[in-house]
Amino acid sequence: MKTTHSINTLFLALLCLTASTLFMSSHVQAAKWDASMTPAEVEATLDKKFAEGKYSPKGADTCLMCHKKSEKVMDLFKGAHGAIDSSKSPMAGLQCEACHGPLGSHNRGGKEPMITFGPTSTLAADKQNSVCMSCHLDDKRVAWDSSHHANADVACASCHSIHAEHDPVLSKQTEVEVCTTCHTRQKADMNKRTSHPMKWNQMTCSDCHNPHGSLSDSDLVQPTVNETCYSCHAEKRGPKLWEHAPVTENCVNCHNPHGSVNDAMLKTRAPQLCQQCHASDNHTSNAYLGNTDMGSTVNGNAFTGGRSCLNCHSQVHGSNHPSGKLLQR
């Protein structure tokens, strides 16, 4: 019944999606030129201007003749991008036009497009980002082009503020809040019974994921899931004498690192989780019914009560005891 309901909801959603593509016509005007030019025209003009390279006669001084009244524009000088004494800062090179492109005829009334940034810019995200990436080519952004965020057309300036003393996304106190505005499922996960301590910012998303993409799955900061986990849980790395195969293979076989309704972020509680893999000719095969009308209780025996299977097999992450085959010591 629930499945049918879900499918109906999705079908309706698909209809809405199709319908809305037909009716959408209004565009939010982000810049002066958006009133008279389509995004394609803006992009074509910017391409041409960039190729022609008609830079201003006096650099930033030309731009600031009009724009110095804007507090936001002048806030650039409070951050690294406004530094005038570093050879690596845009201000040491093409100044404002390093990022916003050559002036061209923009100073004649401001109607000719310049490169603009952020979610309200009509310029395609990859074009915006090509500016940023031409300097920020480094190990932290080595896989930007194939990253989740690049593929989702996220502009660098959708998250980062350049014309500011502080870039809020770089603050560990607000990082989780920024990420979870889009990643809403993870926002719910971190509120579950158990999760990594992200709800109170003890940990942040970037402890495990690189938002600029990485060469690993899920844009993890380490080559594999397990190596990402070992970077904080080095005690689980071993290699131990008696390995528990699914543990060695992948931590997320048993855990959901974003959060779970079960203790220890387990996907399923014991003994059911263990019984999904262990069905030998002894106690692992039995049905453990829990509370029944026949008098048995879930907290009345060692198979379901307390730590369940872990009451005896405590070393689920592997054992280094010579007699640890059964992960008991």
């Binding site: 698909l14 960039f50 019974r193 692992t284 005891h321």
Partner: protein
Amino acid sequence: MNTKLNLITLALLTSTSFSLMADGYGLANAKTDNIKYDAWNCKACAVETGTTGNVGVGIGYNSEDDINSANAFNSSNQTAGKIDADIKYRGDNGYQAKVVANNMGMDNGRMEIDVGKLGLYRLNLGYRSIATYQSNNALSPYQNIGSDNLTLADNWVTAGSSADMPMLYSSLTPFELSLKRERAGLGFEYQTESLFTTYVNFQREEKTGTKVASGSFFNQSMMLAEPVDYTTDILNAGIKLRGDNWFTSINYNGSVFSNNNQQLGFDSAFNPTFGAQSRGYMALDPDNEAHTISLMGQYNDSITSLSGRLLLGQMTQDQQLTSIGYGYSLPADSIDAKVDITGMTLKAVTKLNRAWRLTGSYDYNDRENNTQIEQWTQISINDVTGKVRYNTPYDLTTHNAKLSTDYRINHGLKLDAGYDFKRDERSNQGRETTDDNNVWARLRVNSFDMWDMWLKGSLSKRDGSEYKASESSSAEQNPLLRRYYLADRDRTQIEARFNHSPLDNLNVDFGVRYALDDYTNTQIGLTESKDTNYDINLSYMINDDMNVNTFYNHQIIKSAQSGSANLSIATWQADIEDTVDVVGAGLSYNNLMDSRLRLGLDYTYSDSDSNTQVRQGISGDYGDYFAKVHNINVYAQYQATEKMALRIDYKMEKYLDNDDANDIEPDTIWNVMSFGNLQHDYTAHMIMLNVNYSL
């Protein structure tokens, strides 16, 4: 008008050919021949030197005794003080320094100090602490908790059942289950004017506390306080080189873990059984090391981007084995474990034209466990153990290939589709090879900030080599068992998200996701799992000063599994239903009282509920297993003077969790001596006062 149109027409005509040459506005492609830099004096560039920022001190009071509240309130003490700072110094010639501190003095605090010359060198000092609290009311009769030697009182009288232990209740003392990490780091980076950067970072982490473990003899078990006293050192160093459109680096990453406790010894609280043992020893996590060298590179010509990594690593462990109480000869004093890691990753993205992109990647990762296989006599603890066993070092090789394309149909419409292939090859397990084939497609529609929607669907199928249920297992397994991480599986996922801004100040976001895992050839084990999730988020800017947001998330995960009590077809079924509801709301009101006062409220409520039913003729359930948590934070910030701001926070946490299986006293289960009931039921309040001073 004509001029503009002509310019646009010309631009449209030329842009296609141009973009094939270089797509984007990268600085390396900028045409700067005509610039006369002599006139570029940047006279209006207003860079101020000196010290700016703010410092703050705070003091908080937490009324709650249950230590679990410290996770939310950031302190396990009744009163707590903290220091915050955000100070920046900017000198001449690019010299600068920065100090950022958050909650220093509290359980979860951070501090970063950066000193350097912009674009030349940077010295970084960091500190971070993280504490997590489980309970301060765990009960144990053991003495020396926190040490590696847990003993019972000299006059302890053993018994066959925990309820018959005469000394149990008089010996119980409460202790704390909590873990604290403290990290300190030092980093240095040096850049030259041109290509070259080198860096070195060192970090030491101390992790201390107590966690739960269990020690057992035959069918008797005691919960034990396992001491945690770990030190982990991490060293990263490398050299980076870059040009206009390429980057390469060679990196070393080393991690050395040491545990100050090698084993945990404990007295048995029960009457001796097989082997007449009265004392047991558990091996604690051994000291180990991991070292990796990687070579990374990227090439990007604006049309095509290639990136890759080659990686060689080794994980080793040579801790002396625990032999106390073992009683047999060891084939080696330590196992000299060695796992070699080899990794290779290649990713490529190319733009076929402005609208069409192709992405491909291949990832190879090999974990080869070269630890010597030896025979190890197992201690006899019952009538079936005491045999010789061989250790089975696991190897794993994964191949991961992905191919995808995205096509922009028009400015607001984009179609993505892809195929992912994953092959896992493993040794010493029931199935040596599994193949996962996954196809997916996504349609995205957006109209800037009015609408942004996408719909994604994927189908995947996992199969592989012949499944041998009992292979390398310590006991004969049911031949119909298919372990869920190795089993054939069909996975269907569909997900949609709608983001709509009907008004400039209103944003509505709605998402729905449905995933079905069908274990197609499993009779014993996990057979099916369904995950349905939807969430709605509203954000409304009432006016320039007032903002309201609210969200709701609902998730149901249903799993079904089967088991057999007679090593044959299923005789019992288990159904598990997890339900999660999370509600949140936030309100902020700025610029009250002549822009001096800011008020805010944040509220979240989460309800995580799990229901397990097992049927074998009759039906049973696992009782209550939920956590319901309310959190409120109300704050007011008042700008008392131009330089000084005061802030008061009131925080409340109403926390209730339970687990019927752990609703136990130390002697509820006859053959388990437990820590007792560790559940929480409290309403905690905290008041925090802060004074912040602008420099």
